[in-house]
Subunit: 470 residues, 2 copies
Amino acid sequence: MSQPVDTAVSAVRTYIAQHRVAFLDDLTEWLRIPSVSAQPDHAPDVRRSADWLAAKLEETGFPTVEVWPTPGAPAVYAEWPAADPGAPTVLVYGHHDVQPAAREDGWDSEPFAPVVRDGRLYARGAADDKGQVFFHTLGVRAHLAATGRTTPAVHLKLLIEGEEESGSPHFRALVEQHADRLTADAVIVSDTGMWSEDTPTVCTGMRGLAECEIRLYGPDQDIHSGSFGGAVPNPATAVARLVAALHDEHARVAIPGFYDGVVELTGRERELFAELPFDEERWLRTAKSHATRGEAGYSTLERVWARPTAEVNGIGGGYQGPGSKTIIPSSAMVKLSFRLVAGQDPEHVRKAVGDWVPAQLPEGIRHEITFSPATRPCLTPLDHPALRSVVRAMGRAFGTPVRFTREGGSGPAADLQDVLGAPVLFLGISVPSDGWHAPNEKVDLDLLLKGVETSAYLWGDLAEHWRHAP
Amino acid sequence: MSQPVDTAVSAVRTYIAQHRVAFLDDLTEWLRIPSVSAQPDHAPDVRRSADWLAAKLEETGFPTVEVWPTPGAPAVYAEWPAADPGAPTVLVYGHHDVQPAAREDGWDSEPFAPVVRDGRLYARGAADDKGQVFFHTLGVRAHLAATGRTTPAVHLKLLIEGEEESGSPHFRALVEQHADRLTADAVIVSDTGMWSEDTPTVCTGMRGLAECEIRLYGPDQDIHSGSFGGAVPNPATAVARLVAALHDEHARVAIPGFYDGVVELTGRERELFAELPFDEERWLRTAKSHATRGEAGYSTLERVWARPTAEVNGIGGGYQGPGSKTIIPSSAMVKLSFRLVAGQDPEHVRKAVGDWVPAQLPEGIRHEITFSPATRPCLTPLDHPALRSVVRAMGRAFGTPVRFTREGGSGPAADLQDVLGAPVLFLGISVPSDGWHAPNEKVDLDLLLKGVETSAYLWGDLAEHWRHAP
């Protein structure tokens, strides 16, 4: 590395060191707001979270900050134009809502009372996604301070939505409504992670998501399993047989048409995945699981990053309390989620599921399927110039080679890709052990500050290497 | 019928007509006692019910009447020896506790304030089981009056327990404790019903019951279905596949060894079932179900009465609340009940299930199985002399041919069979519309008096046709 880079690095790091405490205090304050979008009684908290972030972005220096209402929870939008009109425009995406959390789920401390233990900040939303949204606030300030600028090197836009953990039901409409404000040359999604503390990586794609709840109805009320057992269809048995029919003996999804359009992995991508220091034992510890299991013919990483899946998120029916109750239940349900990969159309999957379910059911079992709004998959070309900038910025922050991953999870980034026609890139510093959607979610403070640093380098690199409308 | 029979019938009927009012007044008084064994605050009422019955049995003439305590609710025991030491000994079983009931459950009158409407006595316990216990008191008096005896023609014993509606948790121990007092040549269970008002029937068997709860454990906590989905075993999927594997494509239970020892229906039994005026549409309305479904090769009645089953009483795992939660759950459970038929050994079934479950599970899924105490099946041979006496006594009372049924449910009668080594027979006059365990439970007064009459004929018939220790 040449001397000017070292100077820039030093200036960024000095600025971050000086503002670290206030930054963490602010983040802690935000994490105290239980902005759980899936629980209606937390709607006021989600609104409060949006207002809190808007105020903080104004304080950061964004000249334009707006809270955008939706029929559900509000999003926060901010703009900070570059002095050079020819600079590229970058839209940062994240979310300020969080997954549900309760102490009794297995948290060691209150999920909405953030605490630092061993250099890690524990709270619901610490990694997913408040921490990873918030590092851009100090990042852009460090960028300005280190380069002596008063405005960012790129036209910077932020869109931080409030319904990501509820499936972003109004996000696409919001993006369509404000498409003229949101135009960008690239979208930087700040809602993913990297390989590990030691192996910084850039994610090049996310899976999509289609979800549904299927309810099956048998007898009009719970009936006596002695008087009627063995002679009428049981909806709990039917739901189990439905779920069992989801996968064939190779653990492939057995719904006809499910794989239509799937973009298969290239040899180069399989090589890049194979270069990662994958340790199955360690991965299993992170997954808190006791064996791997998945589609035949694919590695574990290929299964979670590049292959579509069908998973049961919840199943229920009949008596689940203590002791026994000798009934045939009147109904049963299952919540299914399908992860989708590039080339799969959520609407097509929805139709395939809708056609498949009734064909699995015995006579006398009625069904209802409710689909949640779907999320499309997305994939960044490996040779995209903005992707190369992200890789360089991250390399400077971490001081080690940056490798490539994908993300098994899903986000509404694909809607931005669709509506704005801009490529989507991913910048994340969370690690797999951060416990997204799980008890004891946390973010490592050192990594969080590497995120700040990456953000600080990225805007200059993009302006330098990638001109507007190339 | 020969003249002596007509005389006997006439004498019995005359006696019953003379004592009908006092009998119903007494029963009404007993039904006012809310002896709900499942509700701890009714424990004094269950004790009061036992004391009331004991006093009434003394008044009836039983020389020995005892209230037998248990760790739960007390049972009532009574003995009335025959003059002839060589007469057979018959033990009548019933229960004096009742199901919970509250006006707001849908009763048209107070459940513990008996009322007669249209020749039917409405009250909790009217049919299940106080009415069917109590008809023996007038029955034995009518037997004595009509035959000029001072003691019954058989050695008569009564055991009326107080915890049947709570699963008879202390019944087997009570029977074992008093086995020497309870010895009998036959057990008459007065706690079942008959086909319909127009079709008197004798039940020849009850199914047994083995129940278990199976818990499956996958990841150590709920994990993100995006990050890990498709690559680790999901316990909710595993529980579904387990349940789906319970039955083969012919709806037969697929657990190896499950059918070991099953006493198959004889051609004669199938003919007897087929003689019943079975209306599938009407049966489905009673079952509140929308189709029949069961083991291939058997009719609906054969499926519920004479075939063993595996039913799911409850299934659960993961997120069952509103909206979605994209997790792979850490655990899932299912409650299974197996109805057993004659020849099946609950211990053998338990072992078969215990061996089968782990063989269905993928690597990485841990399991626990908890079995509840089992109830054995019981079956009266069609050619048993005591059964023939019951059929004759009932035929005289009803004046129409008596047909045969079985009972799909399970009861503690099998404990008497096991411990005492005596065959179990069933004598009941309740009909399916009597609303056992439901609001507006009732007993038809004409049928109740036919029960009295059957009881009056039975003891003489047994003594005449079936000598002790044949």
